[in-house]
């Protein structure tokens, strides 16, 4: 156990959760992050799918790293990722059809999610399989955490529910409270994400630009 979780692997796992967060700091994978966060459920499913795909594609590329010719490595990486995404997409269609309809094209777009290419290029191409797996898990969770925070606020303020369960009681609506419809529109995802980044960087002064 102690060998599996050496100081370096721990750093590799915990770094992406905050100091080196894929969305807030590395600016990767924003494409699909924003569109699926109107509700908590698709956000969690998306976070999990990305975690699984990053972790396993990291392992596969890390195992192959010495045999891939440098010139065609991008195509090899894309094919590995596309195969994994196809598996996840078929799995969701079979076992969680409603969510897969809500996620529509964004599951397919995990292929071109920059987190994947970024981690494969920056980490898996030059590290051993176990470390790559941990790095994939860490980055996947870092991505999922941001998604869940954004979805939490959007669903709570936009529909008054969390994970489909009503949170704001009917009495409050009777007193004149209304759901904020704008929260469900795409622009609000950007603004909430900007606030998350704002708070994160106000806490970690070394991340501020200029």
């Amino acid at each position: 156990m102690s060998k599996l979780f050496s100081a370096k692997t721990k750093e590799v796992f915990l770094g992406p959760l905050s100091k080196n967060n894929p969305i807030g700091v590395q600016v990767l994978g924003i494409c699909s992050a924003l569109a699926v966060t109107a509700k908590l459920e698709p956000a969690i499913v998306m976070g999990l799918s990305v975690t699984i795909i990053v972790a396993f594609s990291n392992v596969i590329i890390s195992l192959l790293r010495n045999t891939i010719p440098n010139r065609i490595r991008i195509i090899v990486q894309l094919v590995v990722v596309a195969a994994l995404v196809t598996v996840v997409s078929e799995f969701l269609k079979a076992f969680a059809y409603d969510v897969s309809v809500q996620l529509s094209v964004y599951i397919g777009l995990i292929i071109t999610n920059c987190i994947l290419m970024g981690r494969l290029e920056a980490f898996a191409m030059s590290n051993k399989p176990w470390e790559s797996f941990v790095d994939g898990l860490g980055n996947g969770f870092g991505y999922a955490v941001v998604l869940i925070i954004v979805a939490f606020f959007r669903e709570l303020l936009g529909s008054g529910t969390l994970y489909g369960i009503r949170i704001i009681p009917q009495a409050v609506y009777d007193a004149g409270y209304m759901n904020n419809g704008l929260m469900l529109m795409p622009p609000m995802a950007l603004i909430i994400l900007a606030c998350v980044i704002w708070i994160h960087r106000a806490k970690n002064k070394d991340l501020q630009e200029k």
Partner: protein, 205 residues
Amino acid sequence: MENIANIFVKSIFVDNMIFAYFLGMCSYLAVSKNVKTSLGLGVAVIFVLTITLPVNYLLENFVLKEGALAWLSPGLASLDLSYLAFILFIAVIAAMTQLVEMVVEKFTPSLYASLGIFLPLIAVNCAIMGGSLFMQQRAFNNIGEATSYALGSGIGWMLAIVGLAAIREKMEYSDVPKPLRGLGITFITVALMAIAFLAFSGLKI
């Protein structure tokens, strides 16, 4: 014909790749620091999108869709290969980008010099893959509609990136709170632009 024009205008303003679907966000944020380079990337995206989308349309309708292989032999009419869509689409996009890069380098070196670094990056731009996946989802009637969708989406993307770059150039001189500098304020700017684009929703010719 009317339908084609309608799809074209809608894909620029209403279903804008950036403001409605957040596609191609990574390169959108990374390259929008000045107008000139963002214009170059925008042109490259239009170019690749308009070439790959019709090719993927043909692939989808004559190879992948359920019963699409019936033209080959009636025995294949019940075959449904749509689970191969992701791998084939991304292969077409990667190959087409490579091809476009070589053709542009051979015939118009000046364009190549200005697009140079952006062309290979476009293979992993979500807007290109997203275009193909939306095409699959919306089931366009003919290749003309698919092409006009591709052209419109590309132009919409370029409009968005050039607009943001122009705003960011001006923002250099403003006093933004320290933690918001860079990424934070860029997100808020994009959000405000997206709210402005909401005004187009429901637009029809």
